[in-house]
Amino acid sequence: MTAVAVNNIVKTYGKKKEVAALYDISFEVPQGELFGVIGPDGAGKTSLFRILTTLLLADSGSATVDGFDVVKDYKAIRKRVGYMPGKFSLYPDLSVEENLNFFATIFNTSIEENYELIKDIYIQIEPFKKRKAGKLSGGMKQKLALSCALIHRPSVLFLDEPTTGVDAVSRKEFWEMLKGLKQQGITILVSTPYMDEAGLCDRVALVQNGKILSINTPQGVVQEFPYPLWAIRSDKMLALQREAAKLSSVQDIYPFGEYHHVVLKKGSTAAQLEEFIQAHQVDNAEMKTATPDIEDCFIALMKPSIDTATDSLNENASK
């Protein structure tokens, strides 16, 4: 069964509709999937989530959540979705317990009724339940917000950048929690600007400037990477990048951790690059093959210089 279906959604802002936040977006998310919407700031992720949670009206196109239309059946949707906005938005002057209780009651339920669902998450903040929500640490706020979004046992959960501004350990914990929720059969849509989190989703949509660049499983996205990829390093990284960019076989080069990732043009061999590395032995230059990850794919999709390649990827995506 389809939990979320989006058809040709268009949303523009501004008086003359000059700013397009979402441009003809379509995708489907089956029930029980952990679906990631990955894209940089300003890609349109929040607009998309606000449309799906009935807070925002799209200019055109339609969308359903759990089979209900976001415009006509908004009342039904509000009963069955959980939404966690990007900004912490619980009452800072109410305590942890009071916040949770409040959200439980306005959904006509109680903490006890759905305690099973939030137990794993809530148990971590329960020792602080008398503390005011505004005085919690970032990670604890996140857990509380998730608990509040889950308290009415939603069938679809929308998490808008839940891990932005949260430390690495808490982020990891948070994704563990999402996996646990997925096992309970809850469909989860999560947006994030972090590429490394894409690999934790069942499927991801790469979004930029209001357009979907690609929808696939994380593995699929990586497998579709059509170029030979190498990693190079030397003692003089900056000079190395500048000079390697001049090579005729090099499509793109960008810093990637300790190494530079070198994207070669389709069908070209590494011979020229090898020669180049040989010539820079003085600076301890070295090279190795690299396996592309989501970030490489995203960079390749984003670069306008490789338009033709993007098209071919898009074709794959729409299939």
Partner: protein, 372 residues
């Protein structure tokens, strides 16, 4: 109902946890009611008078004595030169110049008439008007006294005389505090009602909680009622505090019944809370809400009949006051407290106020959107 109960519980918790709200609710009425009525005085006292006495006679001295002993004027300069006195006015050391010309006494005795000249600094219109009027009355009285001394009364009074005596109804001693305190109390109630409700909802917008609320199946009217009821109760508390202060400090005991005041205040509070809601639905942040309510408050106060009488306003301004809820409540407060009006006497006011309450709240609920 259960939802509403929890919404109210949450609102009250938040209010009682916010020390600044409690401070505003408790301290503001006390301070305003204790200070403002003393400062907002209609009577002009200590008007600075400069006298140009070019006569230096018995009569001129008598006149000056009479003026200064009235208590309204303080003699700040006494000279024989007009220029000197005018300079005093220019330096703002005098508000009024009274010139007693040469041969004042002579003229008065011989010709039975004499002229005086009065120049008034009209920068402060109220002061100038009242000061001039006071001075004229004192001179008039002086005139009568002088004549009384001279005239040998015949058996029958040669002129026909109409004597006017007045008695002040409802406020026999013309105690302006009886008049001001109820009005200030109305302003207080209006400020508490409008500002608190407007800022409260806008704060939910600012911290983003309204977004969370909007995705819940909570009903619009539940949310709005959850906001209205706490501030409605707080408004009535402020009214009670205000009435207590006016009784303890100014000895104001309403001639009418407290029930009448509370019934009207209950409806009035609904109207101003509706206004607050309306402001909040049209503002994105607290600054906007504050500025908007400040702007409206200025109009309400200045066109509310608190400081200036509505009857003396031009026709167009009178029309504006008809759309000003504050003007109705001020009138009702004065009617009930001073005159002892009953519900029957204020039924038109009450009806109009119901109209305001329904209209403003309806508009506010209509423009509050759970989605954009």
């Amino acid at each position: 109902m259960r939802t509403l109960k929890f919404l109210l519980q949450k609102e009250f918790r938040q209010i009682f946890r916010d020390p600044s709200i409690l401070r505003i609710i408790l301290v503001m009425p006390v301070i305003q009611l204790l200070i403002l009525p003393w400062a907002a005085d209609y009577e002009m006292k200590n008007i600075k008078l400069a006298v140009v006495d070019q006569d230096h006679s018995e009569y001129s001295r008598q006149l000056i004595n009479k003026i200064t002993s009235s208590g309204y004027f303080t003699l700040t300069s006494y000279s024989g030169s007009w220029e000197q006195s005018l300079e005093q006015v220019e330096r703002d050391k005098a508000d009024l110049i009274l010139q007693i010309p040469l041969h004042f006494e002579q003229q008065l005795v011989k010709e039975d008439e004499a002229a005086l000249f009065m120049a008034i600094n009209a920068i402060n219109g109220v002061k100038a008007g009242l000061g001039g009027a006071y001075l004229q009355r004192i001179i008039g009285e002086y005139n009568r006294e002088v004549r009384m001394k001279w005239i040998q009364f015949p058996r029958f009074n040669p002129d026909t005389q109409i004597e006017v005596t007045s008695s002040n109804w409802f406020n026999p001693l013309m105690n302006y505090k009886y008049f001001m305190v109820p009005g200030i109390l109305v302003i207080l109630l209006t400020m508490v009602g409008t500002n608190l409700s407007a800022i409260n909802i806008v704060r939910e917008k600012e911290i983003g909680t309204i977004e969370q609320i909007n995705v819940t199946p909570i009903k619009k009217y539940h949310f709005v009622l959850g906001k209205l009821i706490p501030f409605w109760i707080l408004g009535l508390v402020v009214l009670t505090i205000g009435l207590t202060i006016s009784r303890l400090f100014y000895g104001i005991i309403p001639a009418g019944s407290f029930i009448t005041i509370y019934i009207f205040a209950a409806v009035y509070l609904l109207a101003v809370l509706g206004l607050g809601l309306l402001i909040s639905t049209h503002s994105a942040n607290q600054q906007q809400a504050m500025l908007l309510s400040f702007f409206l408050m200025m109009i309400f106060i200045l066109l509310g009949g608190l400081y200036t009488s509505i009857d003396s306003m031009p026709e167009w301004a009178k029309w504006i006051t008809r759309f000003n809820p504050v003007s109705y409540f001020i009138e009702v407060m004065r009617m009930v407290i001073l005159k002892g009006s009953t519900l029957v006497d204020i039924k038109m006011h009450l009806l109009i106020m119901c109209g305001f309450a329904v209209g403003l709240n309806g508009w506010a609920v209509w423009s509050y959107r759970k989605r954009s």
